[in-house]
Structures are given as C-alpha cells and as structure tokens.
C-alpha cells in the first residue's frame, strides 16, 4: 500500500482545531513544525526607540500527516477546512509522494 505525505502551513492558533479535524477523519499521527511564513500579505513592522524594524514573516506551523493513499482526499479536505474560519484565508494543502518506507513502519 502506498503512503502520501499531506502538508500545509497554518496559523499557529489553528493547530488545535486542525488536529481535531484530522482525528475525525482517522489521522492520529501528525507532525507539527514551527515555521516562519514569508508571504505577500505577511510581515509587520516593529518599532523600537523610534527605529522601524521590518519583520517580513509571520509565525506559523507546518503540518505533516503521512497517510494511506485512500485517506489523502479526506485528509486534505479536513486540513483545508480547519485551517481557517474564514473560507477566503484557508491554507493551501500539498501532497508529497512517498516511496516505500521500511516495511516495519508500514505494518505498524
């Protein structure tokens, strides 16, 4: 059976709802990685002692869920919907192919 890695970048405070959504579709093992998101609509300015510091990124979390092919669609959907309350601001979700991992891993 083939596994895929579903990944997305979400806002930090959406981590809990997203994991809850993934649990619902039966995905329990997930990796969350803190990341800095650089993007057009991102970044902000901090002012210290009158000097402006451009902070081009915003803190976010990269979510990785390695799931069986059969689960990919629901996983992607669950991730997207839970990524933001505002349909306009939902995160994009990507799917990575995986070659066979170690059989032990598969079977576990």
């Amino acid at each position: 059976m083939a596994m895929k890695m579903v990944a997305a970048r979400i806002q930090t405070h959406r981590l809990d709802p997203v994991y809850a959504a993934l649990l619902e579709v039966g995905v329990s093992s997930v990796t969350a990685i803190e990341a800095k998101g650089y993007g057009e609509m991102f970044g902000h300015t901090e002012v210290y002692r009158g000097a402006e510091y451009q902070v081009a990124f915003m803190q976010l979390v990269k979510i990785e869920a390695i799931v069986d092919e059969s689960l990919v669609e629901q996983t992607v959907a669950a991730l997207r919907e839970a990524s933001s309350t505002d349909p306009e601001r939902r995160s994009r979700v990507w799917v990575h192919d995986l070659l066979l991992g170690d059989p032990a891993g598969e079977s576990s």
């Binding site: 002012v47 210290y48 002692r49 009158g50 000097a51 510091y53």
Partner: protein, 405 residues
C-alpha cells in the same frame, strides 16, 4: 559616627551594585540579538571586576586623595591607604564612602557598553574601560566631588549628571563613531531579542537608583527622602512622556520605549535629585522622555552614528539637561532645597553649570579618542571580523550560546 546614616549607605552600596549587576546587564542584554546577549553581560562583569580593582588600587586616590591643583587627587589613598574601620567621612566610615563610590566607578564605564555591542573585541573592552576609569572618570569625579576646581566654583551635580551620565554618554558617542556601525545598520538590524529581559533590567535600575541618588545624600534623612522622591517621580514622568510620544507617533506605546523613558528620566534627574523637589523631578522626567526620544533619532538617522543602545541620546543628553535645568529647578519655589540661592543667582549658576558641561564634554571626548586610538594599536584593531560579528560574539568571543531551550 552615625549608625543610621551608615546603614543607609551600606544598603545604597548594594543597591547601586544591583544597578550594574544584574540590572544593566539585563537591560542591555535584552536589546541585542540573541547571538550576542552573553557577550554584553560578560562585558558588564568584566568591567565591574576591572573597575573595582582599579578603584581600590589607585582610582579612589585619584578621585578623593588630597587635591593637586584642583585637577586630580594625590596618591595618598592608593590601595585605600589610611582608610581603616575608624576613619570617617562626614557621619559615616570612610570605607563605606569609598565602597559606595566604587559602585559609581563600576556603572559609569559599564553604561558605555551600549555603544559598542555586538562588534567589539573583548580585550579592547577591558583595555578601554580600564584606561577610561583612570583617565576620564577619576579626574572628573575629583573636579566635581573631590574638592576639585568645579566643586570650588560651586557646580551642582548631586549624584553624577556630569561625573556619570554626561561623561559616559559623550565617550560612548566617540567610541561608537570610531568603531563604526554594525553590519546592516540602520536598515536591516534585528529587533531586541528579549524586551522582557530589558524591562526587568530597567526595573532593577529604577530600584537601584534609590541608592544611587538617595545614597548620595550620605545620610538617612529628609534630604535622602526628597532625593528619592524627585528621582522616582522623574522615572515615572520619563516613562509617561516617552510613551506619549510613541503613542502619538506610532499609534501605540512599547515596553522597550517605556523602559527607556524610565532610564532617561532617571539619568536626567540625577544631577538635580538632591537639590529639587518632586515638582522638579516631574519637569525633568517629562522633558527627558521627549528630548531623549528625538535625540535617539538625531544620533542614528542624522549623525548616522551607531551608538547602538543610545547611550549618548539617553545618558549624555539626559545628563546635560539635568545639569543645566537644575540651576532653575532648585528654586525653593519648587520645593527645591534652595541650594541654588546660596550658590548665587540662577543665571550665575547656569554659567557655572554650562562651563562644567563644556569641560566634561571636552575632557571625556578628548581622552576617549586617545584611549581608543591607543587600544586599537595594542589590540590590532578593536573590532572583530565580519564573520564573527555575523555569527555573534557569544560563540566567537566566549564560546557559549545564550539559549539552548
């Protein structure tokens, strides 16, 4: 000998040490990148150690030894010679006075650290600071407090507007200009890595300042109380006015700003603290918060000098304001000690203050220039190489990392 006065100066000595360690170390440490936080603290420790030993060996004598032509103290008190448990200074033991003054000799060069963070060689820090304590601090301390020529002229500097803040501020500007800017200055610097650390340091500085200004009364009396009142109010007013400016200019006040305003208010009230009342403190603090805020901009944006943590803008400018305004604010009308009256009309006093200011600026700038030049020769350039600066001084100069969480 008065045990109450002695108790207060003993406590004040501890409070002033608290200002540098850990106060200033935290205040400055939080303002730099996380890759240089330890180096800044190390500079404060190193300076504290060096200044303490030098003060014992010769600094105290140069400052408070028998006056030599009004310019310098003699060698009579080298290694605290003659300072035993019985010798007195006013109503307290001289050894207590000598230790109290030592804590001033520690924090003054430590204030300068803010000028050269993240790019200076550690040996250069020690060399410059050591020479500075002997060639700049001690003489000026003698002029103003050691019955030197300025004291004879009746200059008013209660706790160190000239001796501490102006001398440190001016020297900081000179060093910063000679050392050059941090890579990325001014456009692409990283923001302070730990504003909470800076705020904690500012708070300890605030608390310690009670000993700094209140202790300068050298007695536990109403004068000390009034000095603390003026000091505390100036700190509060400085925080308020600095924050107000930020609020108007940027739409919101910041913690780093409030903390800086506190320090600006405290530095500014220092020379006046024992001569003015709370009203004087209020005025000095309020003025400091605004003027120092814009001074930061002038130094960094106009002069384009990377006095990185704004030592000149806060301590130099603040000290100068206090040194000049005390001439008026000491008026009894403002609950001031009224000292200004005894020491001649306000304008006369202003003249004396201005002269002292010029003398201190000239001496500090001149000798600092020479010291840096000399140190540069000895250390083969006082600045670390580009790569070391990028990687941060913690790892490159001290082999440590600030955080392994």
């Amino acid at each position: 000998m008065n045990s109450g006065d002695t108790a207060w100066i003993l406590a004040s000595t501890a409070l002033v040490l608290l200002m540098t360690l850990p106060g200033l170390a935290l205040f400055y440490g939080g303002l730099v990148r996380s890759r240089s936080v330890l180096s800044v603290m190390m500079q404060c420790f190193g300076i504290a150690a060096a200044a303490s030993l030098l003060w014992l060996i010769i600094g105290y004598s140069l400052s408070f030894g028998d006056d030599l032509g009004g310019v310098l103290g003699g060698a009579g008190k080298v290694f605290f010679d003659g300072v035993n448990t019985d010798s007195q200074q006013g109503t307290i033991p001289e050894i207590v006075f000598a230790m109290f003054q030592m804590t001033f000799a520690i924090i003054t060069p430590a204030l300068i650290v803010g000028a050269y963070v993240e790019r200076i060689k550690f040996p250069a820090v020690l060399l410059i600071s050591a020479a500075w304590v002997l060639l700049v601090y001690s003489p000026i301390c003698h002029w103003v407090w050691g019955s030197g020529w300025l004291q004879e002229m009746g200059v008013m500097d209660f706790a160190g507007g000239l001796v501490v803040h102006l001398s440190a501020g001016v020297s900081a500007l000179v060093i910063a200009a000679m050392l050059g800017r941090r890579q990325g200055f001014p456009g692409q610097l990283q923001p302070p890595h730990n504003p909470g650390m800076t705020a904690a340091g500012a708070a300890l500085l605030w608390v310690g300042w009670f000993g700094f200004n209140g202790g300068s009364q050298l007695a536990a009396d109403g004068g000390a109380g009034m000095a603390i009142a003026a000091t505390h109010i100036a700190a509060a007013a400085g925080a308020a006015s600095w924050s107000a400016v930020e609020w108007l200019k940027f739409g919101r006040p910041s913690l780093v700003g409030a903390a800086t305003g506190v320090i600006a208010g405290l530095a500014t009230v220092t020379p006046a603290s024992g001569f003015v009342g709370p009203a004087g403190g209020l005025i000095l603090g309020a003025v400091a918060g605004v003027v120092c805020f814009f001074a930061v901009d002038v130094v960094k944006e106009r002069l384009k000098v990377d006095d990185s943590l704004d030592v000149f803008a806060v301590h130099g400018v603040g000290g100068a304001i206090g040194v000049l305004l005390v001439s008026f604010l000491a008026a009894t009308a403002l609950q001031g000690g009224g000292v200004s009256v005894d020491s001649g009309s306000m304008l006369e006093q202003l003249g004396v203050q201005a002269l002292a200011l010029a003398a201190v600026v000239g001496w500090a700038a001149g000798f600092t220039f020479i010291i840096v030049k000399a140190s540069s020769v000895i250390t083969g350039g006082i600045r670390v190489d580009e790569q070391a600066e990028l990687e941060g001084l913690d790892l490159t100069a001290h082999g440590e990392r600030g955080y392994d969480l």
